[in-house]
Symmetry: C2
Subunit: 368 residues, 2 copies
């Protein structure tokens, strides 16, 4: 069957919100490199013995039956791991789905979301889909958060939400406990803390939930937990607020595979700590090595990745990106189209041999 281009597609498109039509979709080019350091994934797979144990329970399950209405096994494991009550927990297919639900219950025309930028682009995209207004606050020159500027913007716009990615992707900047408290107390907005990378550094904000019902925390299994392929994440907040967010979350959103595996991995999270420690150590080792390479500037990071700027005169960052992948098989992320990040690339901290391959490639590319 072919699509007829004759009919008046405009008769369908005119129903799409104008704010949506103006948006670009979230896209990413596919590459299949030898060394993949472009998505801040864990280089360590789920242990084989855990996979086998999981399979035994999954094969025995009837796949034609819906998952439980409440993913209580997963939620129970989160409650145990975070010491936060089950009624204040939502689980989703990655934390993206939970950011989406949160924005859906708040954002509409006339509402403002304050977003320090550069940061993860999904917050801006989903605010736009909801018809809300993004108030962008630039990071400071050294890519740290401009706490005073964020507070001023939230007050000036009577913002509904302030989204803080901490540690921040793609810069690695992180907020301290004191900074988050000042941000909270200085505004009246919901303070959404996307802590996708917190296992690698930065302040873990869970204690702030106890007496600050405007704080919401998002966590993912895609980074430190080593399960990007499985899509799992969770949200922590005051139970009364979580009840409202749950209205925009779809029933049966989590399939039984994700639920079982996420719960089991959380219960066995002690096994993952050595991997996390190794990745943190690799990030530090990578930082030291990159700091010694002439022609680039590397930024300190609390995540499992490093941002760097190609400052070598006469070397185009796009050439560095392309030669790394074509000549050395190392794929990094070109983030130079983010605000403030001209000539910048981002590299994930991988396994030691992957990081060595990256450094060797970078040195070679810059030296000729």
């Amino acid at each position: 069957m072919t699509v007829d281009t004759t009919p008046d597609i405009e008769s369908a498109l005119r129903h799409v919100k104008s704010a949506v039509r103006e948006l670009s979709a979230y896209t990413l080019r596919n590459h299949e490199p030898r060394v993949k350091l472009n998505q801040n994934e864990s280089p360590y797979d789920v242990p084989a013995e855990l996979k086998v144990a999981l399979w035994a329970s999954l094969a025995a399950r009837t796949w034609s039956r819906y998952p439980p209405f409440v993913a209580s096994d997963f939620i129970g494991a989160v409650a145990e791991a975070t010491s936060w009550p089950e009624a204040g927990i939502l689980v989703g297919n990655g934390s993206n789905e939970l950011i989406q639900a949160l924005l859906a219950i708040v954002v509409e025309r006339g509402r403002t979301v304050v977003i320090p930028e550069p940061t993860f682009t999904l917050y801006r995209l989903l605010t736009g889909v909801g018809g809300g207004t993004v108030e962008s606050v630039a990071l400071e020159e050294d890519l740290k958060f401009d706490v005073d500027g964020i507070i001023a913007a939230a007050r000036r716009t009577a913002a509904s939400i302030v989204v803080l990615c901490t540690p921040n992707n793609p810069t690695g900047s992180a907020l301290s406990r004191e900074e988050i408290e000042v941000l909270h107390d200085g505004t009246e907005a919901l303070i959404v803390l996307d802590q996708a990378y917190v296992e690698f550094g930065g302040y873990d904000a869970i204690p702030l939930l106890v007496d600050r019902p405007r704080v919401v925390i998002l966590r993912t299994f895609s980074k430190a937990m080593g399960m990007a392929g499985l899509r799992a994440g969770y949200l922590l907040g005051h139970p009364d607020l979580v009840r409202e967010i749950s209205k925009a979350k779809l029933p049966y959103n989590i399939n039984f595979v994700t639920e079982s595996i996420a719960a089991e991995v959380l219960r066995n999270r002690g096994l993952l700590q050595p991997q996390i420690d190794r990745i943190r150590a690799e990030r530090e080792r990578l930082f030291e090595r990159m700091a010694g390479i002439e022609g680039i500037r590397v930024f300190a990071s609390a995540g499992n990745f490093l941002l760097f700027r190609v400052e070598h005169p006469g070397v185009d960052h796009r050439v560095v990106f392309r030669r790394l992948v074509e000549e050395h098989g190392v794929l990094v992320r070109d983030v130079s189209d983010y605000p403030m990040l001209e000539r910048c690339l981002r590299v994930s901290a991988g396994a030691p041999e992957e990081n060595d391959a990256f450094v060797a490639g970078l040195v070679a590319v810059l030296s000729r």
Copy 2:
């Protein structure tokens, strides 16, 4: 950690849209009965040999890596099965996720969605979350669609969307090709056809897509495909419209397990046809048997379920529901709180022995 009830939770809740606060969440009580006929699931599990083959490919995969940016294996299998181009296909975690994305790009304050009711309640819930207005059109007395009434409502309200669940859950009513064409041509709205049950009956609307860019079709793997536990669905529409809908769909929404399994099951869909035929035959057998039971009225259905009203004088439908599950281990769905469906229950067509257990239980409950 306990939740402090002292802090001013209202400071957080005041940011939630008032339309959302007024909504009730989608809920369902959990039961674990011997015979489960409450969710229109397939009684037939995915064949064991298919499970084993799937596991081999999943175990070999690195779970810590993101799924592909575009679920091309899954989308390719849908394109092959439907003869619809890949650019006009979106895949999601169940069709619910795709309805959500579609409503998100259209619905805002001031927009109207026409919904014939009673029907699946999620359309109303998500329209409310988006701040839109639901224009409800009652089914006719015999629970058929009121085509003229739907057209009149869409015109009167200059509706953006008409959502048609065909075959309709929970009534089993279905629209003919001619009725859908009349509905389309008589309105200017997007015509969304949720065809979750179409493998069991009713007109398969895919041919209408070719020269009607306002038509969007949703399909699920949760019913005839026997994969409710895995959450998979797809959307078909004009590529230009699909591009807009994709802006509200999250990146990496489908995990690699769902993608692999859904694609493989689609490619092996011939294996499922005997199961589907058996379920259709069981629905007919069940209808005949129920039509012979005094005190109930059963409605003809194009789905894998039957709606029936308890008309026996002096017998409360809630007592029938409760005694079926407590005394006979048979769980059906109480749909009596839907508009027009007072005293009504819905039973899924299960395996022959499950349906026999249901009929025997129903006869016993009504006879004393």
